[in-house]
Each structure stands twice: as structure tokens, then as C-alpha cells.
Amino acid sequence: MTIQYKSIKELNEMLNNKDISPTELLDETFQLIDEHKDLNAFVTLNKEGSYKAAKELDSKDAFSSLEGIPIAQKDLFCTKDILTTCGSKMLSNFVPPYTATAIENLEKAGCLSVGKTNMDEFAMGSSNETSFYGNVLNPWNKDFVPGGSSGGSAAAVAAGIVAAASGTDTGGSIRQPASLCGISGLKPTYGRISRWGMIAFASSLDQAGPMARTVEDCALLLNEMCSYDKKDTTSLNVEIPDFTHNLNNEIKNKKIGIVKEFDLSKLDQNVVKNFESSLDQLKKLGAEIVEVSIPNISLSVPTYYVIAPAECSSNLSRYDGVKYGFRTDNITDLENLYINSRTEGFGEEVKRRILIGTYVLSAGFYDAYYKKAQQVRRLIKNDFDNAFKEVDVIVSPTTRGPAFAAGSKSGDPIQMYLEDLFTIPANLAGLPAMSIPSGFENNMPLGLQIIGNHLDESTVLQVGHNFQVNTDFHNQNPSKGVS
């Protein structure tokens, strides 16, 4: 019996039927991790901790939805007594004294954290090529990138090693790799999941979320990841619904928006065709497609590339080689301890963003760049508020095309930044958004993005689940190839 490519729901059935025990599940999972070492999806394994947790569950008669389910955690979440690198040399020796709330919630629900997944350094990248620990390979074609920054999490789920993984999304870092690897991934509303214990990149945009094989599994994970957390001052004290409750309700008469201003003519034409067939599928299910206007949406990427670097330069000023993390050997005084530790500890893309952020926040440029970007951010948010008066969700392709070859964009920052064209707007407006598999181009997965209104993850999941019940893109996998 193999557990590869099984969903959470299927594994839960196997556990409840006594076909397998949590410890046996782990045995197979670690074997799969070993067999897929070449993907470079994991930075650190947690054998001791996960086996200890599994043994406590082995004698159970009945398993709740996530009890005994192996899960991979993005290496951006602090995990107590387990190395947490954030993909950086700067944190190559950092062992946190506490665990992030989102991870603690999953573990309390019975998830077995098998290891920490590779990622772009400090979550800055869209191809997993900026990690200090090397590229992650796309399981569908190892010459291609898995996307980023949650590339290790996406590859681990796509390769069927684990049924679920945690991710974080600042400008598309859950949805873009989910799309490129053919899995489902959700970025919830800003404030839904506690950011406590998440290593900060851009604090007004960062949000954790689930990555899995199906929408239904994402809903199960979201149920547990959300909590009101006093330790995160932006954590929302709002009702947390059962996100699985709505899934099977039909989407007849739901109004689904498409954005007038997204210029699809410049896209890969196969992506456009695929998007149109996704719309046809939604229409078949009784949904109504409505054109909406988000006039300022094309300004999302430039707005993001002021705000995110500004917040990054501020957040990353904490890495000084004094209290934790990497310290240079090349020290003559305190000033060059700071400078050399940071220069040697950070990679190229991180330094580029710190410099841009410092520039846009510096005296004389603050109003022209940072304040201006925040004003445009409000215009974009207002556009979404207006659009959601008319529609229930908004859909678009998740990315401009399928996964690209490693190295093909890494020399050109703007081309890499445009990779997140469709995903960034939801971060700026703080809205929930997910990517689900929608088809293939040359045997590489494509994704459909579903953006929801503030706190309305339920409708996003409902539309996604209805789509999956009527399609089988999410059931394909790299071993059997596309059928």
C-alpha cells in the first residue's frame, strides 16, 4: 500500500479503518522524502518530534480530521528547538525558543510536523532560486522552477510526499507555487491567521495559509490554523466559521467577476484558452460571469515594489550579528560587525530589496515613493470594495504562464516581479485568494485564482470545491503524467 498522492481525507479514512497507524504513516513519509531528495524540498527533518507525537496517537480508536496527518512546515515559521533558517545564511544557526501560533494550532489538532521546507530567502522570490540552501526542483519537470517563495512546500505536496504543507504569502508566495506545481493553496484574509512566530518580511502584507492536494483539505487545515491571538496585534477577533460547511452547496447564480483591466492579450495564449475553459466550467455549474472594473489594478506591482521593500528594510534591520543569527569573522569594531555580518549573511535579492526600501523611506523620497504607494494602495482597495458590491468572487489566471526553466528569469528582477502580476492585488487589499489546478500546458500545470471579499474564505472555497468536484486536474500527478 502506498500513501503517495493521498489527500488528507483519504489518509484520515485509512487511519480510521486501521489500514495504517500514524507511526506507519510516518515511516512511509520519511521513505518518500528520501526517495525525492533530489527535489531539495526540505531543509531540516523533524524525525524525533514527529515520531514522538505519532506514538501518542497510535493507540487511538478514532481519528479527527487532522489527527496523525504528516505535514511539512515552511521554514519561515519558528519551531521550538528545531532549526529555522528562512532560506537564509543569516539564520543558518537559529534555533527558536518558541513555535509560531499557526504551527502550534496545527500540531494541537494532531498534525505531525515532519520537517521544514525550502523557500526563497526571507520569502523574497518567485522561483525558489534565492534560497541559500539551493534551488527546489519542480516535480513535474526537474528543469523547471517550482515557483516561490513557498516552493519547497508546493513541491513536497505535488510530489505526493505529504498531503499538506504550510505556506506564507506576501505577494503570491502560496498561490504562484501552488499554480506552478498543480496543487491547491489559499491565502486567507489579512489577520485571519496569527503572524506570531512568522519571520517578518512585509508585515502589512504577510499572511500564512494552507497548501494541499484539494480545496476540501485546504478548508480542513484552515479550520485549525485560524485563531484569535493576542500576541499578534493585527490578529482579528472575529467568528471563525467551519470552512467545510459550505463546500458542497451548489454555486448556481453565484456572480463571478472577471477584471476588465487585466490585459489578457499579452499573455501566453494557452493560458488564455485555459482560463476561458475554466469560465465555461463555472458557467456550466450555473454561475454568472460578470465583468467588473478595478481601474487601478495595473498599478499593483509597482505599488507592491515600494511597500514590500520599505517594510522589508525596516524588518530586516534586526539582523545585526549580535543577538542571534550569523556573525562575520571579519571584525575590527562594532560598526563593521554590523556591516560585514549583514553583507555576508544576506543574498543578492534580499540586499537589493533592503536598498530599495531604504531609498524609498529616506528623507526627501518618502513622500514621492512610500506615501504615494500607500495612497495608490487605498485606491486599489477601494476598487475592490466597489467590485465586491456586484460579485461574490473574482477570478483570473494565477500566473502569466506555466513554470519556467531555472535560470531563465533570475537575471532580470522586473521580469521576476511581474510573475506576481495577478496575485499581488489581493495582498494589497488584504483579501482572501486561492489558486486551484485548472489544466496543463505542455504537461505543466496551470492554475485558476479565486479572490474573495473580506473574510469570505467560505465562498472562495465553495467555488473552488465545486470546480474540483467537476474536474480532475487536481487528481493528476507527476508519476502517472497528465491524462
Partner: protein, 93 residues
């Protein structure tokens, strides 16, 4: 963006660019700034800046002791420490 501006920003960022391919970095930064310059074409008169999608005032909480003493654990992550202190090179001669 001239070399002097870049070196001022590098100093503010506490980063050294000495070993970097200076020209490629400057041209990358210029390209990024040129790209974000399109924001200047937008009329934002009387638009309030949006600093967080939630627009709520950050909650305050009492600074209560809620965990046991973890001093040694925190210090164990430091590159260099001595009893209760983080160690850095001598600052005052």
C-alpha cells in the same frame, strides 16, 4: 541614481557594496525605480495613505510576565555572550 546616492543608501542599510558588481546593481536599482515611477502619473490628491488593510489601531496589552525564564535559551542563540550579556567588540576606549 549615482554612485554617491547608492553608497549613502548602502551606509544607511549597513551593507557593503565593495565586492558587488557595482554597475549591475546600480542598473538593477535604477530599473526598479523607473518601474515604480509610473505611480507618479496617478492623481492621489486628498487620498489618505493606507498603511494596513485592516485600518485598525494596534491593540495594546499589559506587559505581563507570561512565560518562565528563558534567558539561557535566548542567549544560546547569540554568536557571543558572557553570563547575562550579549558580547560585542569594545565600543568605548
Amino acid at each position: 541614481m549615482d554612485k554617491e546616492t547608492v553608497s549613502t543608501i548602502a551606509h544607511l542599510s549597513r551593507l557593503s557594496l565593495e565586492n558587488e558588481k557595482g554597475d549591475k546593481l546600480i542598473s538593477d536599482l535604477e530599473e526598479i525605480l523607473e518601474f515604480v515611477d509610473q505611480l507618479n502619473d496617478v492623481n492621489t490628491e486628498n487620498v489618505d495613505p493606507l498603511s494596513s488593510p485592516l485600518e485598525m489601531t494596534a491593540r495594546l496589552r499589559n506587559d505581563d510576565l507570561n512565560s518562565k525564564d528563558r534567558k539561557s535559551k535566548f542567549l544560546s542563540n547569540a554568536p557571543d555572550s558572557n553570563e547575562d550579556y550579549f558580547l560585542v567588540p569594545r565600543v568605548v576606549e
